[in-house]
């Protein structure tokens, strides 16, 4: 019992409960003194829940101990630069400053959230398997559907942070991130944010979808406020993580690692971080404005008061379109990173691939209104946004061209990570090809808000994120644990996931073209979609089964996997030149970059040289 209480996570949770209660009771007391109604339909009133959720998050971060060092600094005290973690599993449940520990914390939290989001999908997918309402209420359907979207997004953001945190300092030869305490803080605000987000289920839910458009979101139950606050706090995790990563790459690179000798994954991480650093503020702002509209009657989006609901959509999509590049750029970076290893050939067009990540990120800032072709915004905006959207295909095409040319005439090996890389390329191609019909005004007017968009979107997310995420886990698992995951189970995972996923999204696009609207709980049997929906649901459950195989493999291999202390993939990358699991402070000896990173198969080429002196 004492041991459990000493875990930071447990202390944080207790503090969060106390902090929420304290904040909510404070507002309730003030309301009582002001003569306002102190109690609401979910015990507390809406302002009390909002304040309580915020104080709860602050209390969690305080309770876990992520603010202690900063507090000491403000008091003028010094703190030791490095802090040794306790050995064993406890370090993963408390504040650690080691980027590898934080990276694993992020990754495991991400997997948990993705499982929760996936579970929600299974529930409402079961409901959709046949027309007519089977077993859940309309309000619960709406809440689960909306939460599925946002829980997955937060899960993906944390997964991206996990991959970047764990790998980038290693790839550039740094001991740690530039700001280790900020790194810990960025992670530790995510769990309370996820709790607040999920608590919307208990507070009446919400029915807006993940977009939270007003005016609907101004009329939803209190649950929508928990959704707003959860996303806002998780957004700060993403903002501060991006800040930290850019500073790390700009300041802590190994000697000789010029911009065009950085690994592609580092380029992709910087591009991703530029988006999360800046654009995230605008989804935060748009949600805050709705929050204040609900709390204080401020009429930002209320036409009766001169407000403009379209303004919300502009602010929201200014983040939420580039956000998909936050999800996929690191994934595509993983694809470019692993492909040459398993083809034993240089990466084709390194410079172009490096620049293409930045290109996608920058063009991504100019396309947001393609989500609003049917919104009633000014019509002259449609065509420019259509062209800017299609422009994204150029830097993305550069990546595809490089992958195909890298594979061309290579000696292709297909261990599990490579299978997922190839799967990512195929699935992302499907997502890419189904994109332009949504970006072109004429076809989008027909496709908008249909299941076609759902199919397209899941293709891009799985191709750009989920498949590369699995590839990265299979590939770097030995680096973190010193053991490798089972090849047999890995291949089973892939061959269960890949075909069922393709069937699922193809059929999603099909029912969309046949008139199935997205986000609705039921459909007319006369549409003749029952059979296809049943197939989609079956595929979804097969995907879930494949994930169970993965989880079993993952947890079993931590203890019982085949030992893999060395460079099992024959990689040129620096992290594989030292033993696994990675030593606590990464590299005992500093290394110097003396060549190109991806010159696989070129005789006599070297990428890095350990130069003996520790830095």
């Amino acid at each position: 019992m004492k041991k459990i209480l000493s875990l930071g996570l447990v202390r944080g949770l207790l503090w969060q409960i106390a902090g929420t209660a304290a904040g909510a009771l404070l507002v309730t007391g003030i309301r009582a003194l002001m003569g306002l109604n102190p109690w609401g339909s979910f015990l507390f009133t809406e302002p009390a829940w909002v304040v309580g959720a915020l104080t709860g998050v602050i209390a969690f971060v305080w309770g876990v101990g992520a603010l202690t060092d900063w507090f000491k600094w403000a008091l003028g005290e010094e703190t030791p630069e490095h802090r040794e973690d306790p050995p064993g599993w406890e370090k993963y449940f408390g504040v650690s400053l080691d980027h590898k520990v934080i990276g694993i914390q992020y990754t495991v939290t991400a997997i948990l959230l993705l499982l929760v989001g996936g579970l929600f999908a299974l529930i409402f997918r079961l409901e959709l398997a046949a027309s007519g309402m089977q077993f859940i209420s309309l309000q619960l359907y709406n809440t689960l559907m909306s939460l599925h979207g946002m829980v997955m997004i937060v899960g993906i953001l944390l997964g991206v942070a996990g991959v970047m945190n764990y790998l980038v300092p290693m790839l550039i030869g740094a001991h740690d991130m530039a700001f280790p305490r900020l790194n810990a803080f960025s992670y530790w605000i995510a769990p309370p944010a996820a709790i607040v987000l999920l608590s919307s289920l208990a507070l009446g839910g919400f029915d807006t979808g993940w977009t939270g458009y007003p005016p609907l979101s101004t009329r939803s139950p209190v649950g929508i406020q928990m959704f707003f606050i959860g996303v806002w706090v998780a957004g700060w995790s993403s903002i501060l993580g991006g800040l930290n990563l850019i500073a790390t790459v700009m300041r802590l690179r190994a000697k000789g690692m010029t911009a065009f000798r950085m690994p592609i994954l580092v380029w992709a991480s910087v591009a991703t971080s530029l988006i999360s650093l800046t654009a995230t503020q605008l989804i935060g702002l748009s949600f805050q404005l709705v929050m204040f509209q609900r709390l204080l009657g401020m009429g930002f989006f209320d036409p009766a008061k001169g407000g403009n609901p379209i303004l919300f959509q502009h602010l929201f999509w200014f983040y939420s379109h580039p956000a998909v590049y936050v999800f996929i750029l690191p994934g595509l970076g993983v694809v470019s990173e692993l492909l040459p290893v398993f083809v034993r050939k240089p990466l084709f067009g390194y410079r172009w691939v490096a620049m293409s990540s930045l290109g996608i990120a920058l063009v991504g800032f100019l396309v947001w209104a393609h989500h609003m072709f049917t919104s009633g915004m000014n019509e002259y905006l449609r065509v420019p946004f259509m062209y800017s959207t299609l422009l994204v295909a150029v830097p993305t095409g550069v990546k595809f061209f490089s992958w195909v040319a890298t594979l061309w005439k290579g000696k292709i090996e297909t261990p599990t990570p490579m299978l997922f890389v190839l799967g990512a390329i195929v699935v992302f191609l499907m997502g890419g090809l189904s994109g332009p019909p949504n970006g072109v005004v004429t076809t989008d007017l027909h496709l908008h808000d249909t299941y076609f968009v759902v199919g397209h979107f899941h293709d891009t997310m799985f191709g750009g994120y989920i498949f590369p995420f699995f590839a990265a886990i299979y590939y770097w698992f030995p680096k973190a644990t010193g053991r490798r995951m089972s090849e047999k189970l890995g291949k089973l995972h892939f061959w269960l996931l890949f075909p069922s996923f393709l069937v699922m999204t193809f059929l999603m696009m099909r029912v969309g073209l046949l008139g199935m609207r997205r986000r609705i709980a039921d459909y007319d049997p006369a549409l003749g979609l029952d059979f296809w929906h049943l197939l989609i649901t079956i595929s979804a459950f097969l995907i879930a089964a494949s994930v169970l195989v993965f989880l079993y493999n993952f947890f079993r291999s931590i203890k019982h996997g085949e030992p893999a202390p060395g460079n099992i993939w024959r990689s040129r990358s620096p992290e594989w030149q030292v033993p696994s699991p990675m030593p606590v402070h990464n590299y005992e000896e500093a290394f110097e970059v003396v060549g190109e990173p991806y010159d696989y198969g070129l005789p006599g080429s070297t990428y890095i040289r350990f130069n003996g002196k520790s830095h």
Binding site: A178, N244, L289, G306
Partner: protein, 254 residues
């Protein structure tokens, strides 16, 4: 930083402040006499540029010579970069609010007292002058002037908050521009509220720096917290340099 002698550095601070004051007066004159959005925007950009270059020393980001990653200088440079990245991120919040203002108000503005706006703007501008003076003093090891200037900065910052929240907000409400009345109220209270929140955090930051300064924790060589507080404070001023014309000067009263 100690390359120039103290008096020269002080004089540069005064000179920049004189430019800022002239530009602010010109801005007010333009707004009253020939309300031109283009001219007002250019003046605001010029003012922001002066503050960003001469008070926030943006050039320090790329004028670094230290290469040893374990040195105080290099770590201070990393922190400086981190702070600037944070400000870039924060600027998107204020940019979003400005977008909301122009989307919802267009070329109109609420009937606020422009002279009152000018007064609170001047308070913040003067505080930036003293903030710069405090940092310059510390960079030359002059603790006495550091403390005096920092206290003045703090008082002016608190004065700004009193001006906005204690005087401007009640007077807006008296004119019927409440948060829930119309978008004039909604946008005005959101913009000034968000900015005021940043001033408040700046005041807290300065109080911490003042306390640690009085305990002698900073020296001419080691005062990165002072520099960070100054850069943050000037940033909040730069935001107001744009918010002031957006709220008080641009557009016609309806």
């Amino acid at each position: 930083m100690a390359h120039t002698d103290k008096q020269t550095a002080f004089r540069l601070g005064v000179l920049i402040f004189v430019y800022l004051a002239i530009l602010t007066a010109l801005e007010f004159y333009v707004a009253v006499a020939v309300p031109s959005v283009v001219v007002l925007s250019l003046i605001a950009l010029a003012k922001a540029g002066l503050v960003v270059y001469y008070y926030m020393h943006i050039y320090r980001l790329y004028q670094e010579t230290e290469t040893d990653p374990n040195s105080y200088e290099y770590k201070a440079g990393t922190l400086r970069l981190g702070l600037w990245l944070f400000l870039l991120s924060d600027a998107f919040v204020f940019g979003g609010l400005a977008v909301a203002r122009f989307n919802l108000w267009g070329m109109t503005r609420p009937p606020f007292n422009q002279v009152l706006g000018l007064i609170i703007t001047s308070v913040l501008l003067v505080s930036s002058f003293f903030m710069n003076r405090a940092e310059t003093a510390m960079a030359h090891g002059d603790r006495r002037n550091f403390v005096i200037s920092l206290v003045i900065t703090l008082l002016l910052g608190i004065g700004f908050l009193v001006g906005v929240i204690g005087i401007e907000w009640p007077s807006a409400i008296r004119e019927g521009i409440t948060p829930s009345a119309n978008t004039f109220g909604a946008v005005f209270f959101m913009m000034t509220g968000m900015h005021g929140f940043h001033v408040l955090t700046g005041v807290i930051f300065l109080l911490i720096v003042l306390r640690n300064g009085l305990r002698g924790l900073y020296s001419a060589e080691r005062h990165r917290a002072v520099e960070a507080a100054a850069v943050y404070w000037h940033f909040v001023d730069v935001v107001w340099i744009f918010f002031y014309p957006a709220l008080y000067l641009i557009g016609t009263v309806v």
